[in-house]
Symmetry: C2
Subunit: 321 residues, 2 copies
Amino acid sequence: MTRRSAVPPPVTAVLDASSAWLPARLSAVEELLREQVSGHGELLAADAGSTLAAGGKRLRPLLVLLCAGPEGGPDALRAAAAIELVHMATLVHDDILDAAPLRRGSPTVVAASGRERAIGTGDLLFSRAFAILAAAGDARSIELLAEASVALARGELAQRQDAFDTGVSEQRYLDRCRLKTATLFRCAVLLGHDDGALAEFGDAIGLAFQLLDDVLDVAGPAERTGKARGTDLLDGTVTLPLIVAIEREPALASTDLRRLDPGAAEVLCDRIAGTGALDDVRARALEIAAAAKAGLAGAALEPEQRRLLDLVADGVVQRYS
Amino acid sequence: MTRRSAVPPPVTAVLDASSAWLPARLSAVEELLREQVSGHGELLAADAGSTLAAGGKRLRPLLVLLCAGPEGGPDALRAAAAIELVHMATLVHDDILDAAPLRRGSPTVVAASGRERAIGTGDLLFSRAFAILAAAGDARSIELLAEASVALARGELAQRQDAFDTGVSEQRYLDRCRLKTATLFRCAVLLGHDDGALAEFGDAIGLAFQLLDDVLDVAGPAERTGKARGTDLLDGTVTLPLIVAIEREPALASTDLRRLDPGAAEVLCDRIAGTGALDDVRARALEIAAAAKAGLAGAALEPEQRRLLDLVADGVVQRYS
């Protein structure tokens, strides 16, 4: 594994601490993902292949495999690949909406191949996710992934609906996070091991993950996060750091996000940071992650699984990308 | 049922000829579709609700129900709704690519609510399709629909790849039709009744349906088809009428579709018609539909089902929209 920063991304830390089964399984999922994008037409191979090669944390597949445990069979591998395919599909479609030129340092599908191919590529990745899971024949898994996909799309729509609105409430923001991020994390742990205590863990670390993502967008530094500071603000996405900053400094509410340019976005990031909002949100993310770990007490897990899930919870709030 | 033209659309003709079970089931599917789009957020309700209300032939759900027969249970209703949701998702995404202002006389989602919401709405409809089918718990059905969705997306990508290329071969066109249209018809009949002879019937009438669609795009008249003549040509989509016309009048191959405006598209339609290509393609569609009917001999069907499937086959090649 390549370490991209001094603070290892959560997956690296977990794999380093794991016995051999987990890294071996994650490699098998990577192979499965490669098969999925290479065997369904040249356009998918070109467009999704580059998305796949650009990597990503593979945090959702890791959660599936980890929760399935060392005894997890081929169904866990398929479920892990399926959830990453849904995640990739969402990213490809999101990049169209954001007109994003780069993701993880590589050109996005929309930038490389145009909007039309990006829509089709996302649809295809989405369909492949359900196809691979259906081949495993477990209707409960498909139901979980379908419901999570519904939530993802609803979260994306809600975010677009709220765009540029600095009056968005904290509750509305948290609801959006649940739809957009937490449900897929919840789905990941449940695909691995259908257990109520794990479901809550998945929800919580998904939420913590999103909170930290939103802190990083404002805090940077760009060299570590891989994207310019204030990217969300430029898209009109109002996140918790700005919501908290407005509570502390109400004048910020009159900011017209539609008029923001990259320079002004950086200035706004500094103003948000100046209110102490980032420390506040980071502290909340840490608290949620800590509660997630505590909640694992009730789950039926092997000691190694518990230890590694603790590392995941730590990792999602300590990462830089 | 409202008859929109002197030649009844295939679904109307089939319902008129059917005993009570089929119209009752199709109404139940309509209700299920309304529930699906109304229960998952206000944006979906607004955007997909109008897509739903604008109607459509509901030919795919009809095929599911018809093949499931009078004894088909709630799973057939869910499968029928699921396949229409996938079809609707595809239309919503296609309309983004085509920047289409109207579909079935109503504003498209992209026209009414913008590209961003149209992408999200399509994703949501797609996800709901799998969610409703997963709730029924039949992995084989999900596999069928997932594979058909993969084919749809591949067909769409292939069509974009071939855009504006007047050198596209007939074989390539037919392959695209199979991916883009025939596989979903095949899926519809198989969702109703998993039988090899029916699968071939579905494939064949899907292909015949697409061929006639492509004839109607060139032949019009616009008052009956509900769209301007040459709409496909303006999008750069080269279909069998143009391919056959080029075989007969090779000079047509030098047409630069990128430079086409609506007036020039009408002129091109007239030139295509002038070669006799439309009669040729229409005859092929009729031949395929006739073979589809003949092929039903081997399927295990009740007499009423067979009679109604014959009407479907007749209808797809006699319709005007």
